[in-house]
Symmetry: C2
């Protein structure tokens, strides 16, 4: 059994790559919910949905997010009504949010709903929202506090951030199977997701850091390659918060929680520094831009 701490696109690709090397039923993803939002009355879980769609083979690779064969009738009509249309919800994607919102209103948990949707989509891996309780990643910016998707989508992460906090995390509990999935796994992997926005909100949940620390064998894949994020604002955000925007900077940020780092060949020169800080390092290709390279990364993570 392999458990992966996951954000969105990068984690989804790693999970897909791992699923080509081991049985998908052996995979468990603990997925960030700090980016969840309620919009138009709908509860939307972007990271959970990205992982679900990708593992179902339904993600739109060209667009980089959302579902294949998507259409935009509802959004076009909503824009014509003068509604909030900055968070693009496709017609197929909306069905997910309607389903989830109805089931939550009926008393189901996010964990239960996520499992139902995964089953309906034919996903064999176990997908666990990091928490069933409301947590919300919030950014302190030069323009004041900003909700995650406001920063990430509406403002295209082009506003300067001074701090990141996770509202609700002090009282939120990890999802019912989350700690067990970390404790029982043969291997725990931190996906190449944004450390500050995707992984930290999982680590902040009571007991998660402790469960990872007790293992002492966590493997992480660097989300920064040559000092840059493949997608999203991780590098910029790290700099804004006074961290080094590099694989070594990410390693320093997670510190002792991670035993083994998997970094990209382009960052081979950083291996010595990361090793000197007490980590093992494996150097391989980390850019999953074709199945062979994705498989090589999956094998490095599992070796």
């Amino acid at each position: 059994m392999i458990t992966v701490l996951a954000g969105g696109v990068g984690a989804a690709r790693l999970l897909r790559a791992l699923g080509a090397v081991v049985e998908p039923t052996e995979l468990t993803a603990v997925i960030n919910v700090g980016d969840d939002l309620v919009l138009h009355g709908l509860t939307i879980c972007p990271d959970v949905d990205t992982v679900t769609y990708t593992l179902a083979g339904l993600n739109d690779e060209a667009r980089g997010w959302g579902l294949t064969g998507e259409s935009w009738r509802v959004m076009d009509e909503l824009a014509a009504l003068g509604g909030e249309a900055w968070f693009r919800l496709g017609d197929r994607d909306l069905a997910t949010h309607l389903y989830r919102s109805q089931r939550l209103a009926e008393g189901a948990t996010k964990t239960e709903v996520t499992a139902e949707i995964a089953r309906a989509r034919g996903v064999a891996a176990t997908l666990l929202p990091a928490s069933d309780d409301p947590v919300a990643t919030t950014l302190e910016t030069l323009e004041g506090p900003m909700a995650f998707q406001e920063y990430f989508v509406r403002r295209r992460h082009e506003v300067r951030v001074t701090a990141v906090s996770v509202t609700g995390v002090a009282t939120a509990r990890p999802g019912p199977d989350v700690l067990g999935a970390i404790e029982r796994a043969e291997r725990v992997v931190v996906a190449p997701s944004n450390p500050l926005l995707s992984i930290d909100p999982i680590l902040a949940l009571g007991g998660v850091r402790e469960a990872l620390a007790r293992r002492g064998d966590v493997v992480a894949v660097s989300p920064l390659v040559g000092g840059a994020a493949l997608k999203g604002p991780a590098d910029r955000l790290m700099r804004e918060l006074g961290l080094e925007a590099s694989a070594a900077g990410v390693a320093a940020h997670y510190g002792e929680l991670v035993a083994t780092w998997v970094i990209d060949e382009i960052d081979a020169g950083l291996a010595g520094r990361i090793e000197a800080a007490g980590h093992e390092v494996r150097v391989t290709t980390t850019v999953m831009d074709d199945p062979a390279r994705a498989r090589a990364l999956a094998e490095a993570v599992l070796s």
Copy 2:
């Protein structure tokens, strides 16, 4: 100024017909909200939407409900997910519910949201939800209590009803302009809507009956023609509740609230009984199946 107490399709047609005889800006509709529901996290106001779409010229005449040029991508996908797809929400229609749900979450009232949507759709009449407070028409049936749309749509009103009640109506207030619209109008018209399911929930709001009674000149169009409803279960429901399913039965049900009845030519034989009960009666065509007949009815209502 003309104020119409309105349910869905029948009322929408009367309002459209009236709008061809007087300036649409002279029309105010006080619209039932007892059939409103929250489904998939969305607040849906079927009667308000039917009136809005019809007055905007966007209603699908052939289907008899919903919008023209509608598509069903979200519903098809929701059904594939195993979601609740019995209440058919088209893609264009969904934009209305997303818009409303977001605005309500932001603190707007149903009255405000209805005005915003009407404006965006180019509707010149004033559309007033009967109340901004939650009221819900509930049916006691042989199978136990049932929410309105559960009865009306899911069960296609094919379950026997023993009583109708309106949850929340004891504390709900009429919308902010409702009593004024009744008091100030030159003419108040009760639309040919279901008396028990569409009009009674409006009448049950505190002050509405009193405002109508003070006028003493209310005109009503019979929703029953030849003892049958043109659409929906009004006739059956009246029989189930021990009322006479005829124009005379409806007149007896409203009693003194209505001064003048407009009944169909087919029911001319009932005019004597209705007059004997103290009402004026006008006999005309009440079936608005073409513009000329609709205009004739509108003129009879206003004469």
